[in-house]
């Protein structure tokens, strides 16, 4: 007798009593938020409080600047708003109209676009690998893509700092790229992660399990450790998976930042002096309002950031703000992310534990024995039933009784994801369509096309993943083509003819207008971008703080590398996890 209880011993779990916003089971947002009057010019407006915006709001407020963060979506109450349910989580995604086209149109919404405070970190799977040193110089090394305006070593201390702030769980030694260890130990694995390790090991391919993932393998402050609920992509109710919603934003608010949620910024305003002086936005009642600011930081991710620059066109900037290069919206990238599914004789139960767990980066670097440049990672994914059924539609053409039958075997399937680098191309772009979205703003239009190198990589990589799946014991495999993540659209660089921003995200054209998010990355490697986006944000924050005298006077500051400010990390960061090695900073 298994004796299944139908109620917890003390009765059903109840809704929380009315009270402050809850950012997880333990964390309450007790601080009253400061409100800046509309007529007051603040130091900084941050547009989009996601992976990058959350870090910037926190850093700048903690330093003492006046900051207002805008987000088009809600400021979530994790305990009351989020649910353990695929369909019920639709509200987490950017669902207003976008047009997707080109020869290989990408999907958006739930696949890669968050909406609400925390942004994409609310629904990401939380794989947080670093980019490899080669990613920063692939044009020099491989003659493809473009070099970053700085090297890996510049970002390395910021990677280490953000890995501690999230924190990232992972192996004590991660062997790829710049080998390093993680501040929190590996997270326990679900069965599909064991399978990836087993399949790779049998083929002599190195693999790791338990990270790098930004999911607590032990409690972190008032955030509990993971309870293996499996609904990572539906928002982590446990608050074990890092999201700037609870890792950074509360500290920003405690230090005087204001978050204006459900406010869609529709325009960046330009003064007669050629400098930006604030933003126009639609408040929750869709009433148009204005906020003055000395500096505007756009952190809206790869579609909304270029879209906002394009929507802010005005006399003298007819093609959009900061677009003298004509490159705003161009060099958009996604990663090839085909999902290979394998059916096993035994039960897997792929819904248990975070989908992100085991991976290999053994194929990450350019290999001259292959017929394409750059490479890919292989990672576990764990589709829940609705997503899995749609994958079975693509992979097996399943419908009708065939769909019912294969879905009855849901618990026998495991899934591994490709994460392949797609190279930047000018013709992959965002611009404005003639249609209007739900805000009556021009809907963004996305054009995407795979190029030769990208297609060769996919054609080479998918059979490798199928081999691993079979080596792990799968008796059948099937695959769904898809893409993941968004990068580019406002790329940074040294040359103002070939890039939109400089290496700190400041637009070449307007000294008090910055972009900082995934849109400024010139290339994307074969790593999930969230860690890199947050590291870039922490570095830009340090730059703004170091150069505040000039920046707040709207003057062009020199491009000196700023001193790092670990004192501006959220409190307690440095005293948790494996003690850090003291990294000497290299330029």
């Amino acid at each position: 007798m298994t004796g299944r209880l139908k109620t917890p011993l003390l009765g059903p779990f109840l809704a929380p009593q009315p009270g402050p916003k809850m950012l997880g089971p333990n964390e309450r947002l007790d601080t009253r938020m400061r409100r800046y009057p509309h007529h007051q010019e603040v130091d900084v407006v941050v547009v989009g409080v996601g992976a990058a915006g959350g870090v910037l709001v926190q850093r700048l407020a903690r330093f003492g600047l006046s900051v207002v963060g805008f987000d088009a979506g809600p400021f979530w109450d994790v305990e009351r708003d989020w649910v353990s349910d695929e369909k019920g989580s639709h509200k987490l995604y950017w669902n207003t109209l976008r047009i997707t086209g080109g020869p290989n149109p990408i999907t958006l919404g739930a696949n890669n676009s968050g909406k609400g405070v925390g942004g994409g970190t609310v629904h990401f799977a939380a794989f947080t690998p670093r980019f490899h040193p080669s990613d920063f110089m692939e044009h020099t090394l491989d003659g493809v893509g473009v070099d970053w305006p700085f090297r890996y070593e510049t970002l390395k201390p910021y990677y280490a700092m953000i890995e501690r702030e999230m924190p990232v769980a992972g192996p004590a030694r991660y062997p790829w790229g710049d080998p390093h260890g993680y501040p929190y130990g590996p997270l326990e694995s679900g069965e599909y992660a064991n399978l990836l390790v087993r399949g790779c090991s049998r083929l002599g391919i190195r693999a790791v399990a338990g990270g790098p993932i930004a999911i607590n393998s032990g409690a972190y402050g008032d955030r509990p450790h993971c309870i293996f609920r499996g609904f990572c992509l539906q928002g982590c109710k446990v608050a074990a998976k890092a999201s700037t919603l609870y890792t950074h934003v509360p500290d920003g608010i405690a230090n005087g930042a204001e978050i204006r949620d459900r406010c869609m910024v529709s325009r960046i305003n330009l003064g007669k002096d050629g400098l930006v002086n604030g933003v126009t936005y639609l408040d929750p009642d869709l009433k148009e309002r204005e906020q003055k600011a000395k500096v505007v930081l756009v952190c809206g991710y790869a579609i909304e950031t270029p879209r906002l620059l394009l929507m802010s066109s005005c006399p003298g900037h007819e093609n959009g703000l900061a677009n003298s290069s004509g490159l705003v919206g161009r060099y958009l990238m996604v990663q090839s992310a085909n999902v290979v599914m394998g059916r096993f004789p035994g039960l897997i139960r792929q819904y248990k534990a975070p989908p992100a767990n085991a991976c290999t980066e053994e194929f990450y670097e350019t290999d001259h024995t292959r017929d394409f440049a750059r490479g890919f990672s292989i990672q576990t994914v764990g589709p829940l039933p609705c997503t899995f059924a749609k994958e079975m539609l693509a992979a097996k053409g399943a419908w009708g009784w065939g769909m019912r039958k294969v879905m009855m075997d849901y618990n026998h399937w495991a899934a591994f994801g490709l994460l392949g680098e797609i190279l930047p191309h000018e013709d992959n772009r965002i611009d404005l369509s003639d249609e209007k979205d739900e805000y009556s703003l021009p809907a963004p239009r996305i054009r995407f096309e795979l190029h030769e190198n990208d297609k060769k990589m996919i054609a080479w990589a998918v059979p490798r993943i199928e081999e691993i799946m079979r080596a792990a014991g799968a008796e059948e495999t099937a695959q769904e083509p898809r893409y993941a993540h968004l990068i580019g659209g406002c790329r940074m660089g040294v040359d103002r003819q070939t890039s939109v921003t400089d290496q700190f995200g400041r637009t070449h054209d307007i000294p008090n207008l910055f972009c900082c998010d995934g849109s400024i990355c010139p290339t994307q490697g074969a790593a999930n971008p969230a860690l890199t986006i947050q590291a870039l944000a922490a570095r830009t924050a340090d730059y703004l703080i170091a150069q505040r005298d000039l920046v707040l006077q709207k003057k062009k500051a020199p491009l000196d590398e700023p001193p790092m400010r670990p004192d501006l990390s959220p409190p307690g960061t440095l005293t948790r996890g494996v003690p850090p090695r003291l990294n000497k900073r290299r330029r």
């Binding site: 305990e79 109209l97 053409g397």
Partner: protein, 250 residues
């Protein structure tokens, strides 16, 4: 209606409808609702008890009903335990719930349904001289297969506006989004469902939690009248012409 029932391949006999098909016969996620957090419980129970009315398909629900009965048949379920797929699809369409993107040159989902249903009807009329709803299940499946293969034998003026295979993908996507969001379907496939604040603790080897059920397989084959039991992948390695909807993975 025995010809609509799945069969036992050993005996060739139809399997009688049951309250809960699938290999986890005594598993019920709804029985665990007291262990769910209140917000999740409210959303899931509302889905089960508060069935949305037919509005979008109100002018001709019979055709859409017949189509979804073939796109995702439920003849193996007893009438009290069928999942009202059409109502959930109708809710999405009548409330204009969007995935956040629309393929360039594609009509809106609502327009796709208006066009697609007309297209299906014109195929039925052209092949059989009668309405889709009057056809036997094999003839209905043949029409659906012609959509999947993007070779509809009639309705050229409709399918030139959007490819028939896209209508097929829309139908299946909407059907599975409705069906597999329902706790009855979770029980059928052995999905543990919501598990906050309790969590999962038996992570490896496919073990059941104390409150989950072990698998008890039985053999079944699709009914002999159906054509939806075999598989033919829609996707190549590269989604050249795909116009489908996707959730997130990575």
């Amino acid at each position: 209606m025995a010809e609509h029932l799945p069969i036992n391949p050993r005996t060739g006999e139809p399997l009688p409808p049951r309250p809960q098909p699938g290999y986890y016969p005594d598993f019920s996620t709804l029985d665990q609702q007291a262990f769910w957090d209140a917000a999740t419980r409210e959303v899931v129970l509302k889905r089960v008890t508060d069935i949305p009315p037919i509005r979008f398909f109100a002018h001709d629900p019979a055709l859409a009903t017949a189509l979804f009965d073939r796109i995702l048949p439920q003849d193996d379920r007893d009438p009290d335990h069928r999942i009202p797929i059409l109502n959930y699809v109708d809710e999405r369409l009548s409330e204009g719930v969007s995935d956040g993107y629309r393929y360039a040159e594609a009509p809106s989902d609502a327009e796709c349904y208006h066009l697609g249903l007309r297209g299906v009807e014109s195929i039925a009329q052209s092949l059989h001289g009668t309405s889709f709803i009057q056809l036997g299940s094999r003839e209905q499946d043949e029409i659906i297969l012609s959509l999947r293969d993007n070779s509809p034998p009639a309705g050229e003026e409709i399918w030139s506006r959007f490819p028939a295979v896209n209508f097929f993908e829309l139908l299946v996507t909407d059907a599975v989004d409705a069906y597999y969001a329902h706790p009855y379907a979770w029980d059928e496939i052995g999905f543990g469902g919501p598990s906050y604040p309790r969590g999962y603790m038996r992570l490896e080897n496919g073990l059941a939690e104390p409150w989950e059920a072990d698998e008890q397989r039985y053999d079944w084959e699709p009914p002999p009248t159906s054509l939806s039991g075999s598989y033919q992948p829609l996707a190549g390695l590269i989604p050249e012409h795909a116009r489908r909807r996707q959730g997130g993975t990575h």
